[in-house]
Amino acid sequence: MSRELTNRVFSTATWFAAGLCGLVLFFMFAIITWNGIRAINFEFLFAASRNFGAAGGIFYQIIGSLLLILFAALICLPLALGTAIFKSEYLHNARVQKLCAILVYGLNGVPSVIFGIFGLIFFVNVLQTGVSWFVGSIILAIMMLPTVVLAAYHAINSVPEIYRESASALGLNRWQVIVKVLLPQATSGAISGLFLGLARAIGETAPIMFIATAFSGIDIPGSFLDPVTSLPTHILALAQQAVDARALENAWGASLVLISLVTVFSTLGLWGRMKLKTSSLR
């Protein structure tokens, strides 16, 4: 085959692959939006579900999902900030630093179902908490820890050395330097990372389905040790009764709501990350 022909074939192939890829991904988007929009209306968003989800709305599922990730964020943020500060300000031994990074980022690779199993063993069975939404929040917090630590660490690291030095030169001790100079910077970075983490956490099913959620008859939990309902587990339950057209319609509606929440969080996170990048360049 002549080189020119090969070139043609190759370029056609990449166009074809890109077209196919675009088509598949567009199809995904189209299905979800099209089916979802038809299911969504005011009542759907603000009513409780009835008839095992096949009728009614998803109000408590939305509340449940938001509750789960709100507390996950509250647990995760201080832990991640502390870790990031220690890593960048106190830890100077390269070997320990490496080990620490491997351990923390190793969490990032752990399959989500493993978190669910761990929660089942440790909280539900060993600590005897029973199925509880708060346990779900803790597990989700652990799951997104690496993302948030990484973002906060980068934010602290991007604070120029001169700030630390001039703050110390004013007679501030190390901890005061951290609180007054680094923490404000690190918090904004950590929060953008937090949004990225939340975008993933809110869509996760496997970590919470054994330990934090129940399917029907649940509204707002009365205590920390009650179960909630959530969007992803709701979709799971509806998908399993795929023969019922009404149930499916509600599943698409819940999916679109879930994707919208994910998109909001990841846009906030990506936007924050981009802003941080440009400001640290200046």
């Binding site: 502390g82 990032n108 690779g109 399959p111 996760e204």
Partner: protein, 290 residues
Amino acid sequence: MSASSRIGKGYVVGSTFLSAAMILVIILFLLMNSWDAIRQTGLQLFTSEWNPAQDKFGILPMICGSVAITAIAIAIALPLGIATAIFTSEVLPAGLRLYVKSLLELLAGIPSIIYGLIGVVFLSVWVEQAFDLQSGRTVFTGGLLLAVMVLPTIVTLSDDALHHVPQKYREAAKSLGFYNYEVIRNAVLPIAKPDIIGAALLGLGRVLGETMAVMLVVGSIDRIPEPFYNVFVPGQTLTSKLGREIAETAFGSLHFSAMIFMGLILLVFVLLVTTISLTYFYNPEDRLYE
């Protein structure tokens, strides 16, 4: 040292310790809880019959299922993903690339349960009709669905890999009279190769650990297909088995312990793959994708 300094240091040391110890704690708990199965069942764990009623806990069908699904998904997603990345990085105008990249990041963030829903409603029906099967919930369906799911990740990581190759190499190759595809094949791809391998391994780790989408479409039969390469029959993966069955097993029983052992095997597999993938990246810290 002042009091605030001491408390502050205690706080940061404590949180670092907690964060770092977490993965070890998880591994430890999985190990402790699968110990019964390891001791009592031993090598019988790696046989092909799973029947809790008779205390038979062979996890081979699940391992085979996971391997098969991962292989199918990567075999489809990798060539398609790399070719698409070549398009986005080398052909697409720079202005459009940014939009495409943001779109890909959003697509990569679609929760897996929604892929599961699409798999149940559309993909399994199509597979059933296209191959004239009794049920569309097969190993192949799972692989195909996961291929679609990791596609955005593989495309965006490979695109980054290609885009990080300095422009001068392209120019040098072009000035020697190379056609576009020769520039890519001879100059760009060899330099981007480690990063692309890293991307592939990261995708592989994802596919291996994915639960919800697989669980809904794989068919959930704990049997190694006959013959083993027949992928158009229902199967089971480590993850789908865990997702379906763990909530129904009694804590402390041998059955539970064998399930946890599967979790342990899965975790070891995935950690192995991600560790290798991190060593392939030039700068792993910059490349940690959610």
